[in-house]
């Protein structure tokens, strides 16, 4: 069978004994039917028995074998080595999903992930009739509203690919917990929809801190498109009247107000409307922009041609209220 030679740089670290991690360089030949998990096994069986990683089902269901290959979140049992070689070439680096949370080699302390998962009430809340006379039927059109969010296997691929979690704000729930929230806020049987939406509406932890980078959508091995679920949670916040009146919600609503007036966005007005009195903190920045001719004065504000059309379309197509 045709084989390809690869050079692997493998992250090695033992939190109990090591001060710093190091990388082992291993060369091997891989065949086209081997997945990344096969190679993790071979590293342990053929090179170093102390090499440590999590794995269980080998079928993309248990979610335990996520690692990073050249920085890409990868469910080891799902991805073929040939595809990794096609993406990154013949030199591949295996890291744990989070180097800073490594316990031993590929094994990380995932307690942050689970803590956030628990924050969104990750279970169905419903009055259960203990002596039902018939089945509790969920019609297909109701089940479809979940958009497969219930297929999430909690592997952490999206969560540890999220730049907000990784680089900026450790408190942010991250995509996996938000997908979990959506899984229940879209479930017609659930009675805690508002409670859960109030949790994800909170600034600094909830949906408003998503930077819309699509790293989660790119990373998800189950192709659940977490980003679109975060958008839908935003929509539900407005549908259910849960969205608090704050800088973030006004920022979303402000777009409609501005488009209604100009067609285009009135950038200055948007910031002023979103920030309210706090708009003054933007003065130094606005001054720097003004000096460089980057501020359009209200009387020069450009307008879209055929603005009447836009106004009419907004009038007849609006579906949300604030």
């Amino acid at each position: 069978m045709e084989k390809t030679k690869v050079t692997l740089n493998v992250f090695r670290f033992n939190a109990e004994t090591d001060y710093l991690p190091h990388y082992d360089t291993i060369e091997m030949e891989v065949s086209k039917d081997e997945v990344v998990l096969d190679v993790l096994n071979r590293i342990k069986w053929e090179h170093d028995g102390s090499f440590t990683y999590r794995r269980s089902c080998r079928h993309g269901i248990c979610g335990s074998c996520a690692i990073k290959v050249n920085g890409r979140s990868t469910l080891a049992c799902k991805e073929r080595m040939v595809d990794m070689i096609e993406l990154f070439g013949n030199e591949l680096t295996f890291d744990p999903v989070s180097r800073s949370r490594a316990i031993k080699d590929m094994v990380v302390d995932k307690s942050d992930f689970w803590k956030k998962h628990d924050s969104v009430i990750p279970y169905l809340k419903a009055d259960i009739d203990e002596h039902p006379e018939s089945e509790n039927i969920v019609p297909p059109q109701e089940a479809e509203k979940l958009e497969e969010a219930d297929y999430c296997i909690q592997c952490g691929c999206c969560y540890y690919a999220c730049p907000v979690v990784n680089e900026a704000n450790e408190d942010y729930f991250g995509p996996a917990a938000l997908v979990k929230a959506y899984r229940f806020t879209s479930d017609s049987r659930d009675s805690a929809k508002k409670e859960r939406l109030q949790i994800v509406d909170k600034l600094s932890v909830g949906v408003w801190d998503c930077v819309k980078c699509f790293e989660c959508t790119q990373a998800c091995p189950k192709e659940l498109d977490p980003m679109s679920k975060i958008t839908k949670l935003h929509n539900q916040l407005f549908e259910e009247g849960v969205a608090e009146n704050n800088v973030a919600s006004r920022h979303a609503v402000g777009f409609k107000k501005s488009i209604e007036k100009h067609g285009l966005l009135d950038e200055g007005m948007l910031v002023a409307y979103s920030e309210g009195c706090a708009v003054f903190k933007h003065v130094p920045e606005a001054l720097a922009m003004w000096k460089k001719g980057k501020i359009v004065m209200p009387w020069d504000m450009p307008k879209s041609k055929n603005l009447d059309e836009i106004k009419k379309l907004i009038k007849i197509s609006s579906t949300a209220k604030f």
């Binding site: 050249n70 890409r72 993406l87 990154f88 730049p163 907000v164 680089e167 900026a168 704000n169 408003w208 998503c210 930077v211 819309k212 980078c213 699509f214 959508t217 790119q218 980003m227 958008t231 935003h234 929509n235 407005f238 704050n246 800088v247 973030a248 920022h251 979303a252 609503v253 777009f255 409609k256 501005s258 488009i259 067609g263 285009l264 966005l265 950038e267 910031v271 920030e275 920045e285 720097a288 922009m289 460089k292 001719g293 980057k294 501020i295 359009v296 450009p302 879209s304 055929n306 059309e309 836009i310 009419k312 379309l313 907004i314 007849i316 197509s317 609006s318 579906t319 949300a320 604030f322």
Partner: protein, 292 residues
Amino acid sequence: MSLKYALYTGCTARESTPELLKSTMAVAEKLGIELVLLDEASCCGASHLQDFDDFLSLVLNARNICYAEKLELPMITICNTCQLNTALTKKRLDENPELKERVNEKLGEVGLEYRGTVSVRHFLYALIEDYGLENIKKKVTRPLSTINIAPFYGCHNIRPSELHHHFNRTKESPYMPTSLDDLIEALEGNSVDYEHKNRCCGFHVDLQAPKTANRLSGNALVDAIDNNADVMVTPCPLCHLNLDVKQHAAAKEVGREINLPVLHLPQLIGLALGCTPEELGLNHNVTDVTLV
């Protein structure tokens, strides 16, 4: 070669980044590309209107595309987020006849119909796919060979890759994108390889989470500097606002002195094609561009 496009400028190019529109027009002229401005178009919603009212954002974006369809011209964008929202709208309508009908019901009220007959691509990919890097290279009069240029791709041009691949012949990898690097090489510049080139600048949380936005922008700028960049270039005006206008705040957040000029994609191309600083609006960049 005669190329003609309908240009969807987006909002920033007409307001806070006038240098983007100026330099786009200057580069098009140098290359003999004809651009027809879609003055009727509205804001794309920038992924924020989408959070509030998904259907309304579909109707407005479909209306924008209608005007390119009327001209029977392929549509190009000069903002990654305009590209995302226009492309997402087009894909959803083209794949869902029922949704398309609902949107057209509204558009019909103002005498428009979305048909799905024109393509929607970012200017960067139109240049690469239609004009060709080889042909751009032939037009270079001022090679950028002394400059180390850090490409900053911007999320919405490369992710989700499924959407990107649907509209572009360039099958850009979201993990190791190459289009900007290739373009820099065609202009005979030295492209800088650094980890943050395909990362997020944090623009979309600027107002509600400025610390996050500044941290992400700061990390990218510092990474480029540490890899010897003299200048950064981005195809997205929203990334540009964060990386250039807010550079000072980003530097403060990451605790480093940063003074890195950031160019819009057409500003960089224009430099190599011999456009003047005035034609490229370099005086509008907040971090002074001292290379020229």
